[in-house]
Symmetry: D2
Subunit: 420 residues, 4 copies
């Protein structure tokens, strides 16, 4: 994982030393379950330096056997015998992986929480700030800035629910032997070892934990990133010069371009969009890892070493970067008002159409009249005049249709429904 996007919290879980640390946790749980508390304590102090492991592995071509050899040197053969007896490598490795996934997930959940809070704050703060809605990049009916944030919040809540759902699934481990039959260990002993680690057994396994669980994990993370991308894209769009209704915060010491000193580029939001693209590509790799040969082949393992660490780190990184962007978002209320004015009366065409449909006019005719009037120009007075000439709408009906507040009168209902 490149340094640049590797949050400290994830490094502690995913770098090689940490990974071997989780192996030791599994073996310690085995030892404790076997009544060897003292050995477990000694094991905790033993060292599995990544470089030493790699050197040993260069000889025997097997990462876990390399670790066993190193531990045997430090703890003596007896200890190693006791801790790995009846186990196969994957019992240790896969259970350790699950510890990593569980820890990462918790970290991601904790980092998502304040993002949701920040979105909630913005939703509430701008609940009634009318802003020009946009569909297809074009001015549409009025909405409120708060409602945009309510949408982001709702999306984030669904992302959080996915994490919650997956956290229950991945709280599992496996110590079932070389082909999943408990050939040399009992289901009962497995349950006791896993319980010490906060994990549960699976109904049945092969040599390894089924890879669809890893895919679920990768998908849930990709969906957190998609949620962040949604917000990042939204901010980039609002921040464009010519529109400029809100923008990514820009520190005064920050520089935007080496050639053009005036620039305040939304580089964090752009970065989020680019990384989200990568995280979601890992899902297909993960699904491709599910169908393995017989009781297992190891083709999944090489790419998992990369994508699990990377998706975990990038998701956390994205959330860490998103938080201050949301919290300190620059909102330009003047521009929002100016844009509403520039948009003119055309954004009320739907209200006029609806008013006409409440008269005797047929839909076809009503649509044609409305389209003609609103595509001809934006001057409110001119539009009112045309409406008077071409329709039988009352002045009151016209005024209601041209009043932005009419369009957002249900915002309170939505917020109430969301508990905001």
């Amino acid at each position: 994982m490149i340094e640049r996007y590797y949050p400290a919290g994830m490094k502690e879980i995913w770098d090689e030393a940490a990974y071997y640390g989780f192996w030791k946790s599994v073996w310690q749980a085995v030892l404790r379950t076997r009544g060897q508390d003292e050995l477990a304590a000694k094991l905790a102090g033993a060292s599995l330096e990544p470089e030493a492991v790699r050197a040993r592995e260069a000889i025997n071509g097997h990462e876990l056997n390399a670790c066993l050899a190193l531990l045997e040197e430090q703890l003596g053969g007896g200890a190693v015998q006791l801790m790995h007896r009846g186990l196969t490598s994957s019992d240790v490795m896969d259970t350790a992986r699950m510890l990593q996934l569980n820890r990462s997930l918790t970290l991601i959940q904790k980092t998502l929480d304040p993002v949701l809070s920040a979105l909630k704050d913005k939703a509430v703060k701008y609940k009634h700030l009318i802003i020009c809605g946009r569909t297809h990049g074009q001015w549409a009916e009025p909405t409120t800035l708060g409602l945009k944030f309510a949408r982001f919040l709702s999306s984030g809540q669904r992302a959080a629910a996915r994490l919650e759902n997956v956290s229950a699934k991945i709280a599992v481990g496996k110590i079932t032997g070389a082909v999943g039959t408990y050939s040399l260990i009992s289901p009962d002993e497995e349950a006791r070892v896993l319980a010490r680690l906060g994990l549960k057994p699976l109904p049945v396994t092969s040599q390894i934990i089924p890879r669809d669980l890893f895919s679920d994990y990768l998908y849930a993370l990709a969906m957190v990133c998609a949620f962040a991308e949604e917000i990042a894209l939204g901010i980039r769009l609002m921040g464009q010069d010519g529109i400029r209704e809100a923008a990514e915060p820009f520190a005064s010491r920050q520089t935007g371009s080496s050639a053009m000193p005036h620039k305040k580029n939304p580089v964090i939001c752009e970065r989020i969009c680019g990384l989200a693209r990568l995280v979601r590509s890992h899902v297909e790799v993960g699904i491709g890892n599910i169908a393995l040969w017989n009781e297992r082949d190891i083709s999944h393992s090489s790419n998992e070493r990369i994508i699990l660490e990377e998706s975990s780190s990038l998701t956390l990184y994205i959330l860490e970067k998103l938080l201050p962007v949301v919290q300190r978002l620059e909102v330009y209320e003047d521009n929002i008002r100016n844009n509403l004015e520039r948009a003119g009366v055309r954004i009320f065409s739907s209200g006029i159409l609806k008013a006409l449909l409440e008269t005797e006019m047929s839909r076809d005719e009503a649509y044609a009249v409305t389209k003609q009037i609103f595509q001809s120009g934006d001057d409110p007075a001119a539009v009112r005049k045309l409406l008077g000439e071409k329709t039988s709408l009352s002045a009151e009906a016209v005024s209601r249709a041209l009043d932005p507040k009419e369009y957002v009168k249900h915002v309170d209902d939505i917020f109430k429904r969301m508990g905001l």
Copy 2:
């Protein structure tokens, strides 16, 4: 969707005529909610022929406005006024899409059920049939054929749980207007219309239903296909000549190759693997549809027209094809026994290693001795002799280690745990 892989059940949901039928369902629910039962009945009888829609759309470039025009001709302007007043196109289209998704999901769930039953039957039937386990394509500890099926079943149960989870999420619709503000309709009316369709409102929407729900749907389907792929790959591997422990059933009138009349190719399993590859690629497309511009852009819609229908149809197709393959799987018990014999004693190396670890021997030494003995040959007598010479294991310990039943003694526990 190509005819070849398009199950009748899905065609009834996804072809263009069916899609417009769901539009009519939405409008009918609107009419009924507005007390227009008679009009709703008339609408039910109105025709929206895909070709007619396309012809009209060629003129005005808008699919839903084309339908409204056609309906106005048949039902008169009043009806159309009443049914679409206050609605935006996406209120109808997206709610109709959700009806399609819900119907498809139900169909897929119903088709998955008998596959799970068939797997259960096989698991129980072959619970104690000892078969050589395989890891990395190579003979490993003994397992049972029933346990392989128990694994497939467990995987299928997780796939079913994903469908269940997503079915709750997608039972939603939206009638919230052009930018999601209920500008021209009330939340209350939305709830009543949706209730008639068996759907619920979302907390908040843009012009459309948030696309992460579609992504969840696509992912759940891809995971059903991954489950099927797992089984299909397992059968292809067991069916290889030289191994041939089980095989895809082959009808007597079936022909396998135009050049080589002797062939009985597992073409269904191969087909499943190929289609699963495609269905999972749709997930990334679906995630890419989530971050849209402002209150919506329509870039998602064009690919959704293809991938939703395709993923739904292919998933159902795969399950329909998988069922008879599982049900009528050819199991060659003789070959299973022969292969166990060919595998010889080497597959018991783990038992010997464990036995040695229970003596005084260090792990390092035990491993080296076991490796040496078992890589030198497969003759049971020779191995027993070497074990006698090089280790202090008792004859009884050796016999236990070389007894395949020892390795599968916990199969009953696993089956009990799974409720089998």
Copy 3:
């Protein structure tokens, strides 16, 4: 392939009837090579109705054997003997596929040509129309609208070069027998049959044509779509209300929204973006089809039936839709000028920085001064005043730096280099 996005030209190549037509082409070439011109002519008139083939295939489970049976009924056993003797199914099917790919590619190339011409025309027409450049969505140095089109053109030329490159690769076929050994036919006869079809043999094959060639085809198409997406996105961005420098053309009878009659949505450009997303997802599926089992397994075939037709059709569809959008693009020169004015002097910050770097000032200081001046406001007079106060730049140097023409003085050089 859904009707909606299925150009007539592709239908003629890809629907099932057409596919069987290509099979007949291969068999005809075999017959002619074997001196059976009369039989070849009879075969040309024989019928392979998709429904009839499917009915027969339902019995024997083999598509090509089904066709042979149907042809035997029409032409007698002798003819079928002669045309398929020594061939395996894939000799016919794969060679037919290559004919489809070649025909599709030609069609796509022909449709790309006028798009390139249209881009050229626009580039030349707007060569000197100064427009505000944008990076990160924000105003940057001036450029010209023609230069934007020159970029699109250059991108399209690279897309065309990829098609050209792939067209040479896929002009191949294979009649090498069941495992690629020419067991029952000679390399010489293969060469003669293929020559009649405008194809060449490959150095060596398995039962089938190596799938990396199909992947190359899919990639080249995805890159045509990426090129189209680039333009479509560019137009969507320029067309946004508040910016509105250019827009997708909108027919007067077209309707943009069923609720908001004023809308002129860039639905074609959005559609292109959505479809491009799908076409590029097929590349990964295609690469996943390359590594097959031994002399072949058929897992690639099921998804190829879908993705080859779909990528071909969608690519052509995209180009057919892109052409009129480029040709009739609406350019709003007034808005372009207004936006330049709104952008103000800040877009000249790079010129000022450069001018300062040509004085004695250090880069650090020059950068700080420029940033400070340009982030403080946009009023040209105020900026000139500040420049006078804080720098030693001559009035002439300032004027040059604030003159948009200075920034595009090399546009002619670029156009000359591109032969425009």
Copy 4:
């Protein structure tokens, strides 16, 4: 990039220090072009420690401005003025990226060469070693082991051709300013700077080099990996117990399983398959980077920092691992012969069918007879007897059809055609 799969050669190109080294190369070329050889030499000695850059970047949020500041401290403001005057960050960064791509490609090409040689050697060595062909995992017509290698070689040659093709495309750089207009530098100066770096200008650019070139690079690499995967999968299939015709070499000190000491797992081939899956997923990310906003947005950059390094490193790693596997492949000629015997006469069914088609028998009848005979059993004598009873084939015709050499008689032709 994780240490484990990061070849030293790639580290020298891709780690952060190396990247900044390439930036210095670009600036040196600028200085030399501007006649500042002395400054260029001083710059070569200046230090851009990644940690120092990151610390500075933490303040100003701009990587390149951070470097400029560090260099200014070391070289003085004048030097920095001269080397970056008229340039925008991307001029330096993107040109440096291209240097990285070019260097990586050369390294990959050099590493592919010996793999092709090794495949050639094996093809020639086993040219005439008859082995049972396999389609769909089942025994098919005989082929030769050499022909399998010839196929791999041919596939590798196509992979090499793709690298060659892309190497010409990516030998480009860009120094065209902030929006690609050469606002502050001339095309002529660009050409001279790039020439010093062995690069050429592009016809036209935005702020950055068009991303389709990066996509071409990623695709070419993914195709090298697909080629390696093809071989790796082939070896895994041949190495399965029960088939065991060839196997990945296994060092005597290597250990295969911590639980089952007898195992010799093909872990390298499996690893290659898993990594290839990841590299090909980067193509879709790369294509998604092409369509950027206006004159550029920076969303591509964050994922490129990861995928370019990763695809480059993994491709090289795969080739480095593949080479000894091919060179020292274990071939079990006894098993190959035994398998041929086990396959029995059925693999000659195509020859019998062809012989029958040369008699008066209709294809339908001939097929039915052959299928019946060969599906009934494998005993050569019994088959000969049935052939005598049910067909009019001469003993000579039968013998020819049952002679494996008949099936591979064109192998020499193929090898000659390939120049082997």
